[in-house]
Chain length 488, copies 3
Amino acid sequence: MNYNIMPDDMARPLIRGRGEGRGSRCLEASMCDPDAPVIGIMGTGDFSRSLARRLVASGYQVVVGSRNPKCFIALFPEEVEVTSQMEAASQADLVFVAIFPEHHSTLVELKPALAGKTLIDVSNGIRINLDGPSNAELLADMFPESSVVKGFNTISAWTLQVGPRDGSRQVFLCSNSSSAKSSVTQLCRQMGFVPVDMGPLSSSLEIENLPLYLFPSWRVPVICTLGLFIIFYLYNFIHDVLHPFVTSGKNLFYKMPIEVVNVTLPSVALVMLSLVYLPGLLAACLQLWLGTKYKRFPDRLDRWLTRRKQLGLCSFLCATLHAVYSLCLPMRKSARFKLVNMAFKQVKEGVEDSWVDAEVWRMELYLSVGIMALGLLSLLAITSLPSVANTVNWREFSFIQSTLGYCALAMATLHTLLFGWNRAFDASQYHFYMPPTFALVLILPLIVLLGRLVLLLPCMSRELRKIRRGWEKTRHIRFTFPEVVSHV
Amino acid sequence: MNYNIMPDDMARPLIRGRGEGRGSRCLEASMCDPDAPVIGIMGTGDFSRSLARRLVASGYQVVVGSRNPKCFIALFPEEVEVTSQMEAASQADLVFVAIFPEHHSTLVELKPALAGKTLIDVSNGIRINLDGPSNAELLADMFPESSVVKGFNTISAWTLQVGPRDGSRQVFLCSNSSSAKSSVTQLCRQMGFVPVDMGPLSSSLEIENLPLYLFPSWRVPVICTLGLFIIFYLYNFIHDVLHPFVTSGKNLFYKMPIEVVNVTLPSVALVMLSLVYLPGLLAACLQLWLGTKYKRFPDRLDRWLTRRKQLGLCSFLCATLHAVYSLCLPMRKSARFKLVNMAFKQVKEGVEDSWVDAEVWRMELYLSVGIMALGLLSLLAITSLPSVANTVNWREFSFIQSTLGYCALAMATLHTLLFGWNRAFDASQYHFYMPPTFALVLILPLIVLLGRLVLLLPCMSRELRKIRRGWEKTRHIRFTFPEVVSHV
Amino acid sequence: MNYNIMPDDMARPLIRGRGEGRGSRCLEASMCDPDAPVIGIMGTGDFSRSLARRLVASGYQVVVGSRNPKCFIALFPEEVEVTSQMEAASQADLVFVAIFPEHHSTLVELKPALAGKTLIDVSNGIRINLDGPSNAELLADMFPESSVVKGFNTISAWTLQVGPRDGSRQVFLCSNSSSAKSSVTQLCRQMGFVPVDMGPLSSSLEIENLPLYLFPSWRVPVICTLGLFIIFYLYNFIHDVLHPFVTSGKNLFYKMPIEVVNVTLPSVALVMLSLVYLPGLLAACLQLWLGTKYKRFPDRLDRWLTRRKQLGLCSFLCATLHAVYSLCLPMRKSARFKLVNMAFKQVKEGVEDSWVDAEVWRMELYLSVGIMALGLLSLLAITSLPSVANTVNWREFSFIQSTLGYCALAMATLHTLLFGWNRAFDASQYHFYMPPTFALVLILPLIVLLGRLVLLLPCMSRELRKIRRGWEKTRHIRFTFPEVVSHV
């Protein structure tokens, strides 16, 4: 748990002033390369100070422009020149604009001094801005004679301070001037960051939104999981708790915190796992039907395809919780009371051996298959860790996510089928005319598995492979040219 | 679970043509740096199109050569010039060859135009090629006056399209011309990838095979695990199920899915864990015997040493499954039936307290030690995640993998010894003259632990340390020179 | 488990000599770029040889200086020139000093030949050196006319040999000469490593210590965990085992390996989790009291703040072990004996139904809440993996670590409260006048949660937000300037 860069930390005085704590870490002014470009910074906040320190450590000459230089000189390291904004603008080759975007207009008077120079806008918005224009675009409009580069806004003052050793090292850059971008790219690399080119300045809106997102790719999968959980929970509550209470007055409300949850979780997990493999199936069907891969999918399907990882991880979370809940079952007082009461009953009735072979086999089998399904899902989950995913090649990745993934789905379905055993055909399970949950839950995975089997038929798979290599039903020219490279 | 770059995805039209979906992302032609080298691409498949788009976004001028330019112009972004192959070859400084290797010969007519230029071969084979020559070597033979660089074949069209933000960013390069290699290296970096120099063109065979491997380093460890599993399963089946059935007609077949598996898994885990530490021991013995570290080990031992990580992770998987299976035991119907029957029997026999202290202590102890062993193994497994392994230094790594690893092995052995208790000396455990599994399984780990203890004896460890710092039994000159650096 | 670069491995002959195993990997001398700088290496140990091979593969001309070149020529690849130290020093532009630091003085005679050149010191110490001077600083004193760069000491001969594909790729560099540093930075990148600039040569002490550290950031948290474990274990032992033995002669010593541990672990976990959130609270109080964020915190608090990640992971480890121990409880022989004895008693007493509703509800609730707390902690732990932490932005990170973290603390506290139920007010729990553990353990988390709630009061949170944006109680000028950038 990386607690060490939490908001509270930002409270700490990252930068030590001129007077205190210089010690052995201090850099001598003489170290600066006289040929290195002079970097200007407008603004004197936390970010400016961390940036100044980092730039000095990377061997640059730094000039900070402030409206009140005397007030702030003590907050910067000795090697940094703190002067007026005009002075800084004239001296610098590259200028970081590190002031609130709402105050960008105060820089207008520096226009002549900044003409022909590169401005780096590091600002962030307060909330996500979907319509534009971005701060960087507004700045570019304000300084048409300067080249504006957007970047460094995803880097925190803390990262600048400690150096890019841990945490994200990527700096997303965009600009309409490729020469300005390339000089900032070089600066970036010199400071130890990894520049990532995001294209023209029109990408700045996206770059400004980057640090404001709160798991955008997780929203739909999490809502989906929670929605399914609530629906299934209510269903199971009515089926397993309310029905016996209403019909025979049995008080089974104690089942609510654990047993009902533990019937709900595997249902959610199995449905979510089917939802991972359903869109791929739909995409294949669509391609077969259209006879080409060059038609775009409907937007919904497209977004669904990109959310499969998150859907899969939500499914895995539910499956793991289901395992933990199940393992807790025999530990509960209620299980112990029931067992002792059962023993009492058996003694009273004089039954020496209450063993029911079918019951035993059913449980041994579905437990065993369930553990295997969870094991396979764990492998999938581990492979989705970024650092592991980076070490496998395309073929290995597709083997794990597609082949092992379908195995896991098949195992989970079999687990549910074995759990159901013959009870789907037992009328006493249909309380209030509601079928038992496992019967409902099995519909979707069985459809997906069946669909997959159909696509594996030789005639179907041959057709599909042809389409995916570029063949089109309507236009056959593609294969007369040897120009499609075999990148799987 | 990273489902978002599975084969199905490749089905999606990655590149939008000239007509559709330009939006704010579109790059203006004016953005291209006039001094940037002109990059040519031969071929118009998925890969070419993604590559073209990426190159344009990185500020390059791109010319695509096609045998039928008019057909394909609509599939490329506006900034790209799509023209004849000859035209493209003449204009470009660097040329990507993105056509099927079997059609490389169609480029022969461009030989004069490509002379003195750098060709980048991005092709892959269909199956692993162990004998050579590689596609890149054949291309180099075909164009002796051009410099051929192999690379980018491990990058998918999808990665090129979305940019190297997630997924692997490494591009493996090799060439016989270091100037050509260095210009491609620079191009690579400009596009946001991390170039990895693999040496001369003779490495191209390996680079071409890279995306075709299916977990080559896991093959032997997985086969080993499966083999051991099958052997131990059969042994346990005969010992625990078949023997009671044959000798006393007891039907214990219900034990097959869980109980027999749960005796087999820890056996496999312990043997595999010993196999992790055995080769290091053998290597040390060999060095002591030969009196030098400059003799190569037998190839088998060498390969065994490089597979220890995989052996260890297989062992960890078995140990974890063993834990889950064990935790499932009391949940089963069979366990409940047995318990109730036991209660019935106790009541019938009038035994008030059936407590057996030795039995209780044995179980409490082996459970406790087993949990600790699993905890240590989990630490080892976490440290083997690439991103975690990168953050520890050499000394920390060796502390975890060697010191903690041996502790885990010792704990696991103790767990098995405690499980066995005094039953190894109990004749009734020897069904069919077969010793109980735990007795067999203990042989290898005890040998390894004993061997390790012997090597820790002062006389042995001093000798070994000397050898590992470069001393040789036969040649003593080494220590008269101060030229061995103390890299642990 | 990354067993493949353990100490034993270093025993392997990494470098093959001239005679053996050349094969397809061999590099032709003609490949070397004539314009590339000539790299000299002083020393002929393992490190020198791996370094030479790597440099040749990266296209450099390499000259090795040895006091006895004829003895060592066979150990280097063919492309490398092995000659006298003087000869090598004169030819080379950059010189790696790869000999034991205690023998640096043997190089003094090369002073004139090395003047004006860049020396790279790759040496490591034997033990952590806190006082200095570093080896690199001593070398710089010895060669005042050369530019000394410290670096490559964290890279093992093994990594050099196989290339920087797996394992850490970072090379930490420092130097007082920025031109020397920049040429080594470039060399570094050409070799495939990621250079990290650490500033002036005074950082060399830290760089030399880097490979010698043994989890420095874990020391205090681990000691803290062990200390708490021992204290709580003794307390619980006295309370649960010794007290019944002394007062009523009951032999409950069998509880020592599992039951006492399982009461101790959650106590440690909960206290440690409170310790994660306590320092942030103290920091906020201090800031509110001082009315500024520009005063440094006491050193102790500062160090505590940076150790929160480790404290949290220790807490998570204890919580997970607690879960595993708890799940083991019903599996034990002792639990089974107790259950059967309970059944016997019930039969003797003729109690048909022993169900106690309050007991059942208590257990169902605290189990359920406990599982949720563990689930939240697991999310926190996963997010603290370096590769996952790198993919989340600041806002997401703070949401998980702060919001979800406090939820986990609240859940864990609730779990303990529900476990306690009304027993805190039950005199029979106070053996030897010692309160039951859960009552003691609850103090700290309740304080932290209460403190957090107080800080969430509108008046407090407004004040705090103001201070964290740079406002100061004593100096109000800050807000008259628009110079604080909105980085969070």
